[in-house]
Symmetry: C2
Subunit: 140 residues, 2 copies
């Protein structure tokens, strides 16, 4: 399929697809004239990239998980990333509970509520920078 079809199928702008190809995250299976041709499996790959981004991994990190540079360097990396996710899941869970509690709490301000403060101190490590919202493109 051509780049427009892939864009449609993946929900990503063509500019992003070209950008990802340049970065080596996906590859076109050939050209018809100038035009890139993609096989359908890149859709899966794009989904995986989206998942990784959503999980907070950078494009470079995602790229590293794809390419099997060594024998099982990759395997180790994947497990390390899975562990990172475990940590993050715990953090998000306390954050979520904290928000729910904050919304329900009677205390004049949350910093006076002991329950909130407890939640707040449970998490309190492993901070990661991460800005920028995607502007409305759903995959699938």
């Amino acid at each position: 399929m051509d780049i427009a079809e892939l864009a449609k199928a993946s929900g990503l702008p063509v500019s992003t697809l070209r950008f990802y190809e340049e970065k080596g995250l996906i590859q076109s299976s050939g050209r018809s004239g100038l035009r890139r041709l993609f096989s359908t499996n890149v859709i899966e790959r794009l989904t995986l990239i989206a998942l990784g981004r959503n999980a907070g991994f950078s494009l470079d990190e995602i790229g590293a998980m794809f390419t099997p540079e060594g024998p099982d360097i990759n395997r180790t990396l994947l497990l390390a990333k899975a562990d990172e996710l475990d940590t993050k899941i715990k953090e998000l869970t306390s954050m979520r509970d904290g928000l729910r509690h904050a919304a329900a709490c009677k205390a004049p301000n949350h910093f006076e509520c002991p329950k909130f403060l407890r939640l707040l101190h449970v998490a309190g490590k492993n901070r990661v920078r991460q800005p920028n919202k995607l502007k409305e493109n759903k995959l699938k």
Copy 2:
């Protein structure tokens, strides 16, 4: 306390603290000459900001959760954010399972493994941009 102490206590660079103050995310309780003075409760606030960032919220979103602009606009917002987190937690969980499986799987490549593909398709929405790692500053 002065800005250097706060930096030490929070693990954040002073440049970040000034930046956050400019953005209205924290406030100094006064000045001694030119120098900002902070009360210790900003540490809690900074922890909260860190948590929010880690959860994928932008500084503006975090700011919105703090300021009680209306009567219970805030409450609604907090609950909405909590729901976003629920979604994200589910996604991260499948991602984590996917990674663990991928690390263990015998299939020649993961796209040929049905279990992996199933996991892959379970999540597949709600993508969010988010780059940039923090360069080693632990809070607390």
